[in-house]
């Protein structure tokens, strides 16, 4: 199922910019019409997003309506602070290029670099 991940991102963008919860049909209509997409594909994508806790859903009549669990900004902020949090009980989940330093160490680091350039 190549491309489903990309579709997830597209669907999320639609939900983030929507003013209220959307039904599957509304999401399908909001997607670019460049290719024929099946209703069931969009349903699967929304189901995946719900399973991963990125969207909430509520029943309206006989259909599910979906809305994002958080705003886009909050989503990015949450991921980033989780990614940058390397202190305390850190796990080996991510491997960083370098960790952010406290100001004193940062100054020493800069001084070190400057000295080598002289």
């Amino acid at each position: 199922m190549k491309g489903l991940g990309e579709l997830e991102a597209q669907v999320m963008e639609i939900l983030w910019s929507a003013e209220s919860a959307l039904a599957v049909r509304q999401v399908l209509d909001a997607l670019p019409q460049d290719r024929n997409r099946a209703y069931t594909t969009v349903m699967t994508v929304l189901d995946n997003l719900h399973r991963k806790d990125f969207v909430h859903r509520e029943r309206v009549g006989r259909a599910w309506h979906y809305r994002p669990a958080t705003s886009r900004d909050a989503h990015v902020a949450g991921l980033m602070s989780e990614a940058l949090d390397t202190g305390g009980d850190r796990t080996a989940a991510l491997v960083h290029f370098v960790e952010q330093l406290p100001p004193e160490e940062a100054a020493e680091l800069r001084a070190l670099l400057d000295r080598s350039r002289e």
Binding site: F54, H75, V76, L79, T91, L94, H96, E104, E105, A107
Partner: protein
């Protein structure tokens, strides 16, 4: 009894000498991958010795173990039991077994727990960033809109390298390439496995100084190894500059610290090229690590091997 005592003494010796020798030694920083291997060998050899010590005590009270071992080795079970004899008899054997099982279980749960935590964390990050990142096909990375400069990778299947727009804006094109090469070196070097083992050891024994030091050293040495893989000699100053930009942020600060953390040690290392280890030195380190891994098993099996070699149990059958 002798085997058990020897194993406990070995564990203590490994622990003490690792803490004395490894953190201050110059060679792990010159050959960081070997340094990681050494720390892993220590991390495994210490609990393995203690577990085997418990099992060695338990051999005389476990009839099945003695019979099985005698079958395999062709030694007589009575003799085997004699060779693992303990003065305390049943009680000592029982507690040995209990200790071995408890410690094995503790490690099993810690490794499983660490793997589960890490897996969940990575899946959340991968799924989450997939929704908001732009794929940069050329560099094979995910670019996320955030002004905080950060470059990191999410190991696993599929592995991802994530870069923030903040990082892209402070780095020069050459520095970007070097930073990404550093992350890819983490992935190809499977550094996350070494880090997971270190984290699991610390989870099993949260108060152990040995495993705390092992984790911190492993974390730093994999960074140094990735630095080495990312940059040839002429690129090292640029990699150092990239490191400083990302670690220290853009704005200058007045105060200075005295002692250096991992980032400072890395920058120092990138800016000064020390002599490489000789082949001879490298092999003696590898051999030591291998010995650390094999010694506990050999010590534990020594009484059984001795029993097998003596072989006089069979004599009555032939006469």
């Amino acid at each position: 009894m002798t085997a058990a005592l020897a194993l406990l003494a070995f564990a203590a010796l490994v622990r003490i000498s690792a803490l004395r020798v490894l953190p201050g030694a110059a060679w792990p920083r010159r050959a960081p991958r070997l340094g990681v291997v050494a720390w892993q060998a220590v991390t495994l050899a210490v609990p393995a010795s203690v577990i085997l010590a418990g099992l060695a005590l338990a051999v005389p009270v476990l009839p099945v173990a003695a019979e099985d071992m005698s079958d395999v080795l062709g030694a007589c079970a009575v003799l085997l039991r004699e060779h693992y004899e303990t003065p305390g008899g049943f009680v000592v054997g029982f507690f040995g077994l209990l200790g071995a099982v408890a410690l094995s279980a503790r490690w099993g749960f810690s490794v499983a727990g660490e793997l589960r935590t890490v897996h969940r964390h990575r899946a959340r990050q991968r799924d989450g960033f997939a929704l908001v990142s732009r794929r940069d096909v050329l560099s094979g990375t995910w670019v996320v809109d955030d002004e905080r400069p950060a470059v990191f990778c999410i190991p696993g299947h599929p592995a991802r390298v994530v870069v923030t727009t903040g990082a892209l804006s402070v780095l020069t094109p050459q520095q970007r390439v070097l930073a990404l090469a550093h992350e890819k070196a983490h992935l190809t070097g499977r550094h996350h496995l070494a880090l997971t083992l270190a984290a699991a050891a610390r989870r099993a024994h949260p108060r152990s100084r040995l495993f705390a030091v092992a984790e911190a050293e492993t974390a730093m040495l994999v960074e140094m190894h990735a630095d080495d893989r990312a940059a040839v000699a002429s690129d090292r100053p640029q990699l150092a500059a990239a490191l400083v930009k990302l670690a220290a942020g853009p704005q200058p600060v007045g105060t200075m610290a005295i002692n250096g953390g991992p980032a400072i040690q890395r920058v120092q290392r990138l800016l000064t090229t020390g002599p490489a280890l000789t082949q001879h030195q490298r092999w003696s380190i590898r051999l030591t690590a291998l010995t650390l891994m094999l010694a506990p098993v050999l010590i534990a099996a020594a009484p059984a091997l001795e029993a097998a070699l003596l072989d006089y149990c069979r004599l009555p059958i032939h006469t």
